[in-house]
């Protein structure tokens, strides 16, 4: 199976409270925050790797994983980390985040899919910086492929994927014919979430994403990483979404202490007007 995994580099999500907005409101300032791969994309890579191996040691790879990112030269680090973790090839589309929106990324990805012809695109459900949650859906639409979003489990079948998705009160399972677009949620990295047809259903993965062994890190330098121009992928490079201004959410007002339940009810009725 050949899988394309789009990856995004984001400002350290664990320190999102350090994000600043300058008085001009023209942008969100993330200086000083360490760049990290988007966690959902790391889960997508893990799922893709599991789908292209047999689960045994030493692992036998059965397929190819291509990672692609949109960003400046510094993003090569993110790609090389993915190569060290097990991806086979990498593509970086040279651009910067402020020149993109979800639609443009989806159109550019479509062009890459047209060239690479993967069996499936596995991607994070959303990037934790913009939290837009659009690209997978848009891409499936542009490709006219079936889509399964927020996957918690993926089991490969012949020519199809059985995708489990958590919903209120249970799990729905969809069968998507390949080729398809799948976006993943965090449960996808649980020990029994993903199986390729080559992996015994009794096999249990380590919980979470795998990390690169040192020899693989050194060897990753020899794996191919190509750079493309955005304009080579799509003639129309203008984003559709234009941001006019950024504004921090208003600071929360301090709470008050109520005397007793009767007082609470009074406040809820008169002030909050929820009763």
């Amino acid at each position: 199976m050949k899988i394309l995994v789009p990856l995004k580099r984001v400002a350290d999500p664990d320190n999102a409270n350090k994000v600043k907005i300058p008085a001009s409101g023209e942008k969100i300032d993330t200086t000083g925050l360490e760049p990290k791969p988007n966690p959902f994309d790391e889960y997508a890579l893990e799922a893709a790797l599991r789908l292209t191996e047999n689960g045994q040691t030493p692992k036998v790879r059965a397929g190819e994983v291509i990672v692609v990112t949109f960003g400046p030269k510094e993003c090569d680090t993110t790609l090389r980390a993915a190569l060290a973790t097990g991806a086979d090839r990498a593509i970086r589309v040279d651009t910067t985040d402020d020149k993109l929106d979800g639609d443009l990324v989806a159109r550019a990805l479509k062009a890459i899919v047209d060239r690479e012809k993967p069996d499936v695109v596995v991607m994070g459900k959303q990037a934790v910086d913009g939290d837009s949650n659009q690209v997978a859906q848009l891409l499936a639409e542009y490709l006219d492929w079936p889509q399964a979003t927020f996957a918690a489990t993926v089991h490969e079948e012949d020519g199809a994927l059985l995708v489990g998705r958590e919903v209120d009160g249970g799990v729905i399972t969809l069968r998507v014919k390949l080729p398809a677009v799948v976006s993943v949620d965090l449960r996808i990295v649980a020990p029994t979430s993903v199986y390729s047809t080559k992996t015994a259903r009794t096999f249990k993965y380590n919980d979470g994403v795998r990390f690169a062994a040192l020899p693989a890190i050194m060897a990753a330098k020899k794996k191919p990483l190509v750079e493309l121009k955005l304009a080579d992928l799509t003639a129309d490079v203008a984003p559709k979404i234009v941001y006019n201004a950024f504004q921090a959410p208003p600071a929360r007002k301090a709470g008050i202490k109520v005397k007793d339940v009767a007082d609470l009810v009074l406040h809820l009725k008169d002030e909050a007007k929820v009763l």
Binding site: N206, A213, K221
Partner: protein, 575 residues
């Protein structure tokens, strides 16, 4: 360009010469290495977060087998072994940085990995023949085999030349037969390959023994005693080793027969840097705990971090850590630039590292106070773990003597040559004039450090002045006492401690200069401030030592100690 008098920055400094080209610009990891090392650290962090429970390792006196397997699987057993032999091929700087990370998580694991590759297999790496490397390194790189370094014996700790373990050549000259025992060998319980030091000359009173290094496989009959119970690093395996007619083929001699002592010293010179960076790693973890604690814990209506005495502790710790980090990575950078002589520098890093982490763990425990003392918290374990660093790989006393005496050797030789030259003034003219110029420079004016950033001029003056003081003291002491200096340990301590502070300060200045050049004054504020705090601390320590050059109570202290040996105990009681 002045003539190069020593291949080492510190050795030159003992002559009063500041070889600034050796420390400017502050070395930097190549971009590619930096990227690799960040990825390696990322893997190490993720692995440790998922699999390492230091409290459990301490409690159960063992690193679980799965954890060791995991570390091997990651490739952490072959960090500096070249890729040709299936290792990772890291530079000295990258190696030290990875060991720093490991030690920041768990000292037992760091010491186990260090005993394996900082010292255990280092002799093969540095002195092994191509055949020895081919035979042993690949399995050591993957951790299929684990190595240990076996030098210490019951009657030979600091005085390593006193070892009694013998290696006798078989009559047919094909192998050696080793008999004897070793003590306190890290990884002794499970190592497969040992670097063993044994004497290859007969024991004769007053005769310097010939020592030879061997690669010995466990399979050839090496037996281990039970694991020792210890204060700290309880997850490491520390055992005795017994050699009872163990046959070792002659091909397994490392380096030359009779040159084993040099092998041991080179291995330790190199290994000490892993210990220095490991100390830094532990100190960083403690600093994080300290900073969290002082902001969280409240007393007298404030967080304790608001109090001056607490702030003073934090600032001192930060400054000493900055100095330690700067000198350690200055030294590894020199090694990576193929500077061959770094024995004084690495000994300084080991002493400084172990003493800084000891101060940091002690002060952090003090800040944590009650919870610091409780076994439910990590502080007391870290205190116990940190203590070993002052003892092994050369005790800090031995290393102080080593720093002083090694540093004094150069000026000592120069003086001997000068006195010879003075007797034969014509022949020795060149030498004499070089020496005269150098002396004139250090006596009349200071030797200068010109490449430092002007914002650090105050620290540079401290460095230059104190370098002059050190060189003058070295010169006058050598003239007055000559070889007797070897017995003068009070003087050696002063010389060594000045050398340590001078090296630390030089490293801070070089590193901060680079930071200012890159990021400007505002951007390098943290580095500048810490260099200033460290400069102040070092200046006061060195000024005290300089005052002791002129006036001290060394003789009084010696006689007090000697009398106590006769008294046999503390001589007073108020009854």
């Amino acid at each position: 360009m002045p003539p190069v008098i020593e291949q080492s920055f510190m050795k030159a400094l003992f002559h009063g010469v500041i070889s600034e080209d050796m420390i400017f610009p502050f070395p930097e990891m190549p971009a590619e290495d930096r990227e690799n090392v960040s990825m390696i650290l990322d893997s190490v962090r993720k692995f440790c977060a998922a699999s390492v429970d230091s409290a459990k390792i301490d409690r159960e006196h063992e690193i679980p087998a799965e954890v060791l397997e995991g570390l091997k699987g990651l490739g952490l057993f072959g960090l500096q072994i070249p890729t040709d032999f299936d290792g990772i091929g890291l530079s000295s700087t990258a190696y030290a940085r990875v060991m720093q990370e490991v030690a920041s998580v768990d000292t037992s694991i760091a010491v186990t990995l260090g005993a394996h590759q900082s010292i255990g297999l280092k002799a093969i790496l540095l002195f092994g023949t191509p055949e020895q490397k081919r035979k042993y390194l690949p399995k050591l790189a993957t951790g299929e085999h684990v190595a240990a370094f076996a030098l210490t014996e019951p009657a030979a700790g600091s005085d390593a030349a006193a070892i009694k373990t013998r290696a006798e050549l078989s009559p047919d000259g094909t192998h050696y037969v080793i008999n004897g025992s070793k003590i306190w060998i890290t990884n002794g319980g499970f190592a497969d390959v040992f670097t063993v030091f044994a004497r290859t000359s007969s024991v004769e009173e007053g005769q310097k023994p010939k020592i030879t290094a061997f690669i010995v496989e466990r399979e050839w009959g090496v037996k281990s005693g039970p694991s020792e119970h210890k204060l700290g690093i309880r997850g490491t395996s520390t055992t005795e080793l017994f050699f009872d007619d163990v046959k070792v083929p002659v091909e397994n001699v490392i380096g030359e027969v009779g040159k084993g002592f040099k092998v041991a010293m080179e291995v330790l010179n190199n290994g000490r840097l892993g210990l220095a960076s490991g100390s830094l790693g532990l100190a960083r973890t403690l600093m994080k705990l300290a900073i969290e604690r002082v902001q969280e814990r409240r007393a007298f209506g404030r967080s304790i971090g608001e109090f001056g005495l607490i702030k003073d502790k934090i600032a001192r710790m930060l400054a000493q850590m900055f100095a330690l980090e700067s000198m350690t990575y200055l030294t590894t950078g020199m090694i990576d630039q193929k500077v061959a002589d770094y024995s004084v520098e690495s000994a300084i890093c080991k002493v400084m590292g172990s003493e800084v982490v000891w101060e940091v763990v002690n002060e952090t425990l003090q800040i944590a106070a009650g919870i610091g003392y409780m076994s439910d918290y990590p502080y007391e374990r870290m205190l116990r773990d940190a203590r070993i660093n002052l003892i092994f790989e050369g005790t800090n006393e031995i290393l102080r003597a080593f720093i002083a005496l090694t540093g004094l050797q150069g000026p000592g030789k120069a003086l001997v040559e000068v006195s010879k030259a003075l007797r034969e003034p014509i022949k020795g003219f060149g030498l004499l004039s070089d020496f005269a110029v150098r002396r004139a420079k250090t006596v009349l004016g200071r030797e200068r450090m010109s490449r430092a950033h002007p914002l650090l001029s105050h620290e540079v003056v401290i460095f230059e002045d104190m370098t002059g003081e050190l060189a003058n003291y070295v010169d006058s002491t050598l003239r007055k006492h000559g070889r007797r200096i070897a017995e003068m340990q009070f003087a050696q301590r002063r010389v060594a401690e000045m050398a340590m502070d001078l090296y630390a300060l030089a490293a801070c200045i070089s590193r901060t200069t680079r930071a200012i050049e890159r990021r400007g004054e505002e951007g390098a504020k943290r580095e500048i401030d810490l260099t200033r705090v460290f400069g102040g601390l070092a200046h006061r320590r060195m000024a005290t030592i300089v005052s002791e050059f002129a006036r001290n109570d060394d003789e009084l202290r010696k006689s007090v100690a000697s009398r106590a040996y006769t008294d046999g105990a503390y001589p007073f009681d108020i009854l």
